[in-house]
Assembly symmetry: none
DNA sequence: GGAAAGGATCGCACATTATCGCACCCGAAT
DNA sequence: ATTCGGGTGCGATAATGTGCGATCCTTTCC
């Protein structure tokens, strides 16, 4: 059995019963306890479950934990993980990193916690929450001020003013839609304003967007496509769209969504 | 059964009935009384419940509202409730209200949610959380930016700059200590800075502090006693201290803590 | 084509830590 | 004063994580 299959089984089990114990999984899946523990570690890192003594439970506990709840955040989760992993390669110790809100950046923020000596500026309460859960003395997390939107982002003049006063080495932004004519868009007018401020405040502007965002149109434009220095998306994007984007954005990075929920092809040679 | 499952069951039970007994849980969950006690201890530490003789009851208000910082918030809870109720009388619809962090202001914020048409400016993530749980279109809640302290307050230049740019009708502040010589103090240097900015930004400065704060000295002074237009405290304060304070602060308001220890009645004392 | 190098995954042994129940004594309520 | 619940100390048991070696698959080189 493949590791990703095994992990799917674990998720299936925990979603059905609400909790799993290591010893039960050892018996059921026929692997050692260490393997199970490592699986749980990985799944916990992805936010799919929460490790507890003796096993794991669903993460549903804290309301501020996961943005938008499971329905939304699990969509394209494998893609988001892969995108986040790729984005992580662009961050180096000592950097000043900006992050907007959204589930993709939230996934990315989970990985970012392990990077030493960085300064994070964000207008997302959830992202700030992630870092403040286990504070590290070598990391500084700045939450911009402002008024909360339903998606828990801070917007408005306070946010804009705070963002304008910083200089970021790199800015990571999740968007709701990307389109040739309208660029990167969001359904929230005031969020677009803060997002624009973020773009202006950063030396390097990186957009994180899975392939389903292509062609989606939010009411407000954050920036044209060519404003992005890098766009990281996944290989689910069809060739035609890849070409379009490649012409416009600074650099287009495609990542392979590793070990999705179901899409495993054992022994297939690389294309 | 996993320990965390067991604790979930306990919470479920207590939220359904309002109270649990140790003996009942022993039977229902099939573990020893000591295990139950230890569970209750953990949950009480998290602020999910309050231990009483024979079992546990729900803490002050809705337990789901209480964030993780609640271990300390139950101390002097009755006093805080009474102080908060008194402070509420000073707020009128249409006002711009400032609030610092701390458990006393948090208690106050819960009452403030019912006041129509107000603007709240706070550097406390928890206070902002309270309002964003059920957003009202006639209320605006501004979170100042900044870096999080362990007590979940936002501090630093971003916070100060945001606070300086607003004008508040009234400012409510919880303090860590009050002392004749050193005035209102806090153990956190940078928090004092934002607190001072709050004082300067407001027309009317109200301090909320239960009687145990008297004589306590934090490392950093926020303001001298006479900077307070109003000081609301409880009648646990001895006469000698009352007199001292009355000389210095603009107005000293003493409230009676209802019911001594118990305070888990939703429809609380005054209107 | 095949062998060697590289990388990832998994299992085992070990030291460490957390959990639980029991016995015992203390404190609170009636 | 008596009874019931509460807390502390201890030992037994289970769970955890780290380091290491074995195995499998992929890649690379000849």
């Amino acid at each position: 059995m493949l590791a990703s299959q095994r992990r799917s089984r674990i998720l299936e089990e925990i979603r059905r019963t609400g909790a799993v114990r290591v010893s039960a999984l050892v018996e059921r899946l026929g692997v050692s306890d260490m393997t199970i523990r490592r699986d749980l570690e990985v799944l916990a890192q992805e936010g799919e479950l929460r490790k507890v003594h003796g096993g794991a439970v669903l993460p549903g506990g804290r309301s501020t934990e996961e943005p938008g709840f499971a329905a939304k955040s699990n969509r394209q989760n494998a893609e988001k993980q892969a995108i986040a992993a790729e984005a992580l390669r662009m961050v180096e110790p000592g950097m000043a990193v900006g992050m907007s809100g959204g589930t993709t950046t939230w996934t990315f923020a989970r990985l970012l916690r392990d990077v030493p000596d960085i300064t994070v500026v964000t207008n997302s309460v959830q992202v700030a929450d992630l870092f403040s859960r286990e504070p590290r003395s070598d990391q500084t997390v700045v939450l911009t001020g402002g008024i909360r939107t339903p998606s828990e982002a801070l917007v408005g003049p306070f946010a804009v003013s705070a963002i304008r006063s910083v200089n970021l080495d790199i800015m990571f932004m999740g968007v709701h839609g990307m389109d040739l004519r309208n660029g990167f868009t969001t359904p929230n007018l005031v969020e677009a304003e803060t997002d624009r401020a973020f773009v202006e405040a950063s030396r390097r502007f990186v957009v994180l967007a899975d392939h389903t965002k292509y062609g989606v149109l939010g009411i407000s434009t954050i920036a044209p496509l060519d404003a992005a220095d890098v766009l990281i998306t996944d290989s689910g994007l069809v060739e035609e769209h890849r070409a379009s984007l490649r012409e416009r954005v600074g650099e287009l990075v495609l990542v392979e969504a590793a070990g999705g929920e179901q899409s495993d092809e054992p022994g297939s040679s690389r294309a």
